[in-house]
């Protein structure tokens, strides 16, 4: 992210990303419920849906991992807000320092080291913000990979549902629910990735 927006710490951009992340967190709490429901149904239908039971317990593991990964994203957003706010503050301070007229040699000598220190601080903050965005994108890729696992679990659930005997229709319904939820998360996060790449 080398655009000037991120370098100056554009809070609006961070907020946009955060709103998407919040949406995904809301959807992922749904995965947990769907998985739980799937496990209960599998239990009720007994032997016939053992495979389905296995898949749905895997799905619960997935939803817990997803939750953890999303918490990680939230923490990164927090760091970004902190550093973006620091950047804005430093920009203000620099602006005020810069407004001091330094026509005389003596004044220049006083101001130069002050401005140099300021610039060094801003350089550091700018670097930090760059690293924050980088970490955010890495974590996002990790979450997307995790979602691929979720997608293949949903497919397995669909296959297992076929062997569910008279429970087959119900299991299929649950499997579809799983697929829908995972897909929704996936497409939302992909959209976020495109937004962040811009």
């Amino acid at each position: 992210m080398d655009s000037t927006a991120s370098q100056t710490g554009d809070l609006r951009r961070v907020v946009q990303a955060n709103e998407v992340i919040k949406k995904v967190i809301r959807i992922s709490s749904g995965v947990n419920l769907v998985a739980l429901n799937a496990m209960l149904i599998a239990k009720r239908s007994g032997e016939r849906s053992r495979g389905f039971a296995v898949v749905s317990s895997e799905l619960r593991v997935f939803s817990r991992k997803l939750e953890g990964a999303m918490t990680g994203l939230g923490a990164l957003i927090f760091e970004l807000v902190r550093d973006a706010a620091a950047m804005r503050k430093q920009l203000h301070e620099r602006h005020h320092l810069f407004n001091i007229p330094a026509r005389e040699q003596q004044m220049r000598e006083i101001m130069e080291p002050v401005l140099a220190r300021m610039d060094e601080r801003m350089h550091k903050t700018r670097g930090q913000i760059g690293r924050d965005w980088h970490k955010l994108r890495l974590q996002l890729n990790r979450v997307l990979q995790l979602c691929e696992t979720g997608g293949s679990l949903a497919r397995s659930a669909k296959i297992e549902a076929v062997y569910g005997g008279d429970m087959s229709a119900t299991l299929k319904q649950v499997a579809n629910q799983i697929e829908e939820t995972v897909n929704e998360i996936f497409s939302t996060l992909k959209l976020l990735r495109t937004q962040l790449a811009e």
Partner: protein, 247 residues
């Protein structure tokens, strides 16, 4: 880390507090920031100091889209109340800040232009938040000479700024006052020193005791609920303020 907690919810009408921060360095006074939400519009009361901006901003963003904040309310001119103004305006240059007319030319030292401020006259005014009416209630000289509380008649909540403030020791971290007698000891020194006028205090107590209040929310310390609201007003009425300096 600061966290946003909802203290009132009725459909789309909500009050939340970003309560004091247990991890904050001790040299900064701890503050509560209050967010009033009505549908897609929100007002932030006493947005806080510049140093805690990112903590407040993050805490709010975790629960509410900060783009919905259209109004700031500054009870008075103190840095712990409103020195974050420039950073809020960076985020949203169209923000309006409600403030006593008395501080109209002082607060711009923290940021903002002539368009930013809405002057509150001494007698107070109504503030509309997406159809909900909030009232700026005069609380002059308590402690600032141009000072307002914010009353929500529907939610029965009074944001009281520095009135009711307590400087609580670590360990007393609850959001609400649980034991009034124990709590008020931490408010006494503050009110005797910071509040300067007994006449202004009695005038405030008389007016505020006529309001229907479920929660009295100060900028520092814990929130008074139910019976404790009346207890506080009675306690304050009886307290000799402006008396903390020995002759």
């Amino acid at each position: 880390m600061k966290k946003l907690e909802f203290i009132y919810e009725d459909g789309h009408h909500k009050w939340a507090v970003v309560a004091r921060d247990l991890e904050k360095p001790g040299f900064l006074i701890d503050t509560n920031e209050y967010l009033v939400v009505n549908g897609s519009e929100a007002l932030l009361a006493d947005p806080g100091g510049m140093e805690i901006f990112s903590a407040v901003f993050s805490a709010i963003s975790a629960e509410v889209d900060p783009c919905t904040i259209r109004h700031l309310f500054a009870s008075h001119q103190d840095p712990d109340v409103i020195s974050s103004l420039a950073l809020w305006l960076d985020f949203n240059p169209d923000l309006k800040c409600y403030l006593s007319w008395l501080w109209g030319s002082f607060i711009p030292h923290f940021g903002g232009t002539a368009e930013t401020f809405v002057s509150i006259p001494d007698e107070g005014m109504d503030i509309s938040l997406g159809g909900l009416t909030l009232e700026a209630v005069p609380a002059h000289y308590l402690h600032s000479s141009g000072n307002f509380n914010l009353y929500d008649r529907k939610a029965k909540i009074l944001f009281s700024g520095d009135v009711g403030a307590a400087l609580l020791p670590s360990g007393e971290d609850g959001l609400f006052v649980e034991n009034f007698d124990r709590h008020i000891r931490h408010a006494q020194g503050f009110h005797r020193r910071w509040m300067g006028s007994n006449a202004a205090k009695l005038n405030w107590c008389e007016r505020v005791s006529r309001l229907d209040i479920d929660m009295l929310c100060p900028q520092h310390g814990a929130i008074y609920r139910g019976e404790d609201v009346k207890r506080f007003i009675d306690w304050f009425a009886a307290l000799d303020v402006g008396s903390a300096i020995k002759e």
